[in-house]
C-alpha cells in the first residue's frame, strides 16, 4: 500500500506555536457510491485517532470522524514550546493503517 504522507508545520508567534499537520489520507465516508458499480458504496476509510506529542509527552489526542475532509489538515496550538522541541504526530485509521510524522519547532 502506498505510503501515506504526514507533514507537520510549525509557526511560533508571540509565545504561541501553531502546529499544523497534513495527512494525505482519502478520508472515505462510506456513503459515496462506487463510480464503477453504482449498487455498491466505497467502504469507509478514515483516520480515527490523531495524537500530538511534544518531546515524547502527549499534549493532545483527537478523534476524527468521516466528516473530516480528505487530506485532513488539523491544527492545534502550544504555549511555551521552545525552539528545538520535537513534535510527533501519530495517527491510525479504521482499517488498521497508521503513520506518523515528526518535526522540530523552529
Amino acid at each position: 500500500m502506498a505510503d501515506i504522507e504526514t507533514k507537520i508545520r510549525t509557526k511560533t508567534q508571540g509565545g504561541v506555536t501553531d502546529v499544523m499537520v497534513l495527512v494525505s489520507h482519502p478520508m472515505e465516508t462510506g456513503q459515496r457510491p462506487d463510480p464503477k458499480d453504482k449498487t455498491k458504496k466505497i467502504p469507509a476509510h478514515h483516520i480515527q485517532k490523531l495524537n500530538f506529542s511534544v518531546n515524547g509527552k502527549e499534549v493532545a489526542s483527537t478523534d476524527l470522524g468521516a466528516a473530516v475532509s480528505k487530506d485532513p489538515l488539523v491544527g492545534i496550538k502550544l504555549k511555551g514550546a521552545k525552539s528545538g522541541d520535537k513534535i510527533k504526530v501519530t495517527w491510525s485509521d479504521n482499517l488498521g493503517q497508521s503513520g506518523s510524522g515528526e518535526a522540530t519547532v523552529g
Binding site: 504561541v16 502546529v19 465516508t29 456513503q31 480515527q48 485517532k49 500530538f52 511534544v54 509527552k57 502527549e58 499534549v59 493532545a60 489526542s61 483527537t62 478523534d63 476524527l64 470522524g65 468521516a66 466528516a67 473530516v68 475532509s69 480528505k70 485532513p72 489538515l73 488539523v74 491544527g75 492545534i76 496550538k77 502550544l78 504555549k79 491510525s92 488498521g96 497508521s98
Partner: protein, 167 residues
C-alpha cells in the same frame, strides 16, 4: 585461535542460528502485531468514541460523548467558520476556547448524517482546534468545549451553496 577451531564450533553454530531464527520470528511478530499490541494501551488512554460518532442526532451525539451535562452558551468559545461555504467538502472550522482548564473540544455539524465531526482532548496543548470538514447541507455548526467539568458551546450557521454561486 584455539576457540575458533574447536570441534564444538558447528555445535555453537547451531544454537546461534536458532537464536537468529527466534529473534527474527519475534521481530516479525512485533512488526505484524504492533498495532494490535498497542490497541489495549490506547484503549486505556482514549478509545475512539464509536457510539458518539455513529449517533445520528445532535443531542444524542453530545450525550454519547460528554454524558448528559447541561450546556451553557458562552462567548468565550470562539467558533470561526465561513458564513457561506463555497466548497462543502472543505469547510475550514476553527475553535478557540478562552477558558481555563480546557479539557476537550468537539465539533458537531447538526445536519450531517452523523453530526460529530471531531473531538480533541488536551493534556498540555492550548484550547484550540482547527480542521477542514465536509458538510452535507446548510447547517448550524456547534462547538462544544469541556472546561473544568462544565460544557460550553457556541454555534454558527454555515450556508452551503451548490455550484459555488452564493444566493
Amino acid at each position: 585461535m584455539k576457540t575458533f577451531n574447536t570441534p564444538e564450533d558447528p555445535v555453537t553454530h547451531l544454537p546461534r542460528r536458532l537464536f537468529l531464527k527466534q529473534t527474527l520470528a519475534t521481530a516479525v511478530l512485533v512488526g505484524a502485531g504492533g498495532t494490535t499490541l498497542f490497541r489495549p494501551g490506547w484503549a486505556l488512554a482514549a478509545e475512539w468514541p464509536k457510539a458518539a460518532f455513529e449517533a445520528t442526532k445532535l443531542d444524542e451525539a453530545i450525550a454519547a460523548l460528554f454524558g448528559k451535562v447541561p450546556l451553557a452558551s458562552s462567548t468565550a468559545v470562539k467558533l470561526k467558520a465561513p458564513t457561506q461555504a463555497e466548497n462543502s467538502a472543505q469547510v475550514q472550522i476553527q475553535v478557540q476556547a478562552d477558558l481555563p482548564n480546557v479539557e476537550a473540544i468537539a465539533v458537531f455539524i447538526e445536519k450531517n448524517p452523523r453530526p460529530l465531526v471531531a473531538h480533541a482532548s488536551f493534556t498540555g496543548a492550548e484550547g484550540y482546534f482547527s480542521a477542514r470538514m465536509k458538510m452535507a447541507q446548510t447547517s448550524d455548526v456547534h462547538a462544544v468545549v469541556k472546561a473544568g467539568g462544565k460544557l460550553y458551546t457556541a454555534k454558527q450557521n454555515v450556508k452551503v451553496t451548490v455550484g459555488g454561486c452564493g444566493g
